[in-house]
């Protein structure tokens, strides 16, 4: 991904990831509306489904990528000290990768 096209690629990724997130949220909303009381067994059954696991993994990826693009934009707007900005960016990236792999670990241990 060239620097000269970073804006275009980020713009596309933000929109595609937003659609993925919206689809997942709509699905879960529908699930909760159809099942008034959700117990552990039902929850485990839902997430044991391969389709649901792949969809959740994709949603996690979309969430992290979407968040990174947004946070990067906020940092470049408000933090003018490059050392501080770089440090914060590394911390955020470590946090996002950790959240992603933590989520994957939980998902595949069901």
């Amino acid at each position: 991904m060239g620097v000269s096209q970073k804006g275009l690629h980020d713009w596309i990724i933000q929109r595609v990831s937003a659609v993925v997130l919206a689809g997942y949220i709509l699905f879960l909303t529908g699930f909760f509306m159809l099942h008034a009381s959700v117990d552990f067994m039902m929850w485990q059954k839902l997430y044991s489904n391969m389709f649901m696991q792949v969809a959740t993994m994709l949603t996690l990826l979309a969430l992290m990528w979407h968040a990174w693009i947004g946070i990067w934009a906020v940092f470049t707007d408000y933090i003018k000290c490059s050392v501080l900005r770089g440090t914060l960016e590394v911390l955020v990236l470590v946090a996002l990768f950790s959240f992603f792999f933590w989520g994957i670990t939980i998902l595949w241990s069901i």
Binding site: V3, S4, Q5, K6, G7, L8, D10, W11, I12, A73, T76, D77, Y78
Partner: protein, 233 residues
């Protein structure tokens, strides 16, 4: 009517301050904000500095922040304003003195979009013709008067005035991108794909709400983004 006006003379003031003025509108029948400012300057304080020229919303000289909203003083009616009228210079640009700002950064961004027709086709015998439909595409774009009200109301420009082109320059970029006589559309679009020039616009539409000519830079910016998408994929 009470006015609170931003004052700053870098030669004698250590920092800017707000100065209050009372203007009797029975004695000075003013319709627009500019009339009132000129009356204050003529009758109370001739050190008050501001730019103005045509006094009818054509030249774009008297852009300023009026009660928190950017606009042209010459077309902003006093009757539409309530309470003390607070006048400040356009935000986001260095103040030269009082209500006069240094527009260098604003013009530098305008220059970057190469605001002139570029055509590499052989010169025609008489002129480059345009159909009425092709000409219609320029409506809503060419009318910009470079008053800077839109660009200086945009937070993305405040934070990145050297990198983000701003709504005015992008509106003008679209004016040349859609011009049927311009052959450099691809070059123009390829220059806007970095993270800042165009894509730092998040569509908050401050520019649309302040444009004294009723133009819609956000729509133009959106059109450019879709044109790039079409061009690249």
């Amino acid at each position: 009517m009470r006015f609170s006006i931003y004052r700053y003379d870098p030669i004698k003031d250590r920092k800017p301050y707000m100065q209050d003025y009372e203007l009797d509108l029975d004695e000075h029948p003013c319709v627009m904000v500019l009339d009132a400012l000129l009356a204050i300057r003529d009758t109370q304080d001739d050190s008050l500095m501001l730019r103005r020229s045509c006094r009818e919303g054509v030249c774009g000289s008297d852009g300023m922040n009026i009660n928190g909203k950017n606009g042209l003083a010459c077309v902003t009616r006093l009757a539409e304003l309530k309470g003390t009228i607070v006048i400040r210079p356009l935000p986001g640009l260095p103040v030269v003195r009082d209500l006069i700002v240094d527009m260098t950064k604003f013009y530098a961004q305008y220059e970057k979009i190469e605001p002139f027709l570029q055509n590499n086709d052989p010169l025609p015998v008489r002129e480059r013709l345009q159909s009425p439909e092709e000409r219609d595409k320029l409506d809503g774009l060419y009318e910009c008067i470079l008053c800077a009200c839109c660009t200086t109301s945009c937070p993305s420009f405040w934070w990145n005035p050297d990198k983000f082109l701003g709504p005015q320059a992008l509106l003008q970029a679209q004016r040349f991108i859609v011009d049927s006589r311009d052959t450099e559309k691809s070059k123009r679009l390829s220059k806007l794909q970095d993270a800042f020039s165009l894509y730092r616009c998040h569509g908050i539409m401050n520019c649309v709400s302040v444009c004294p000519k009723g133009l819609n830079p956000t729509k133009a910016i959106s059109s450019i983004k879709h044109a790039i998408l079409k061009e690249e994929y």
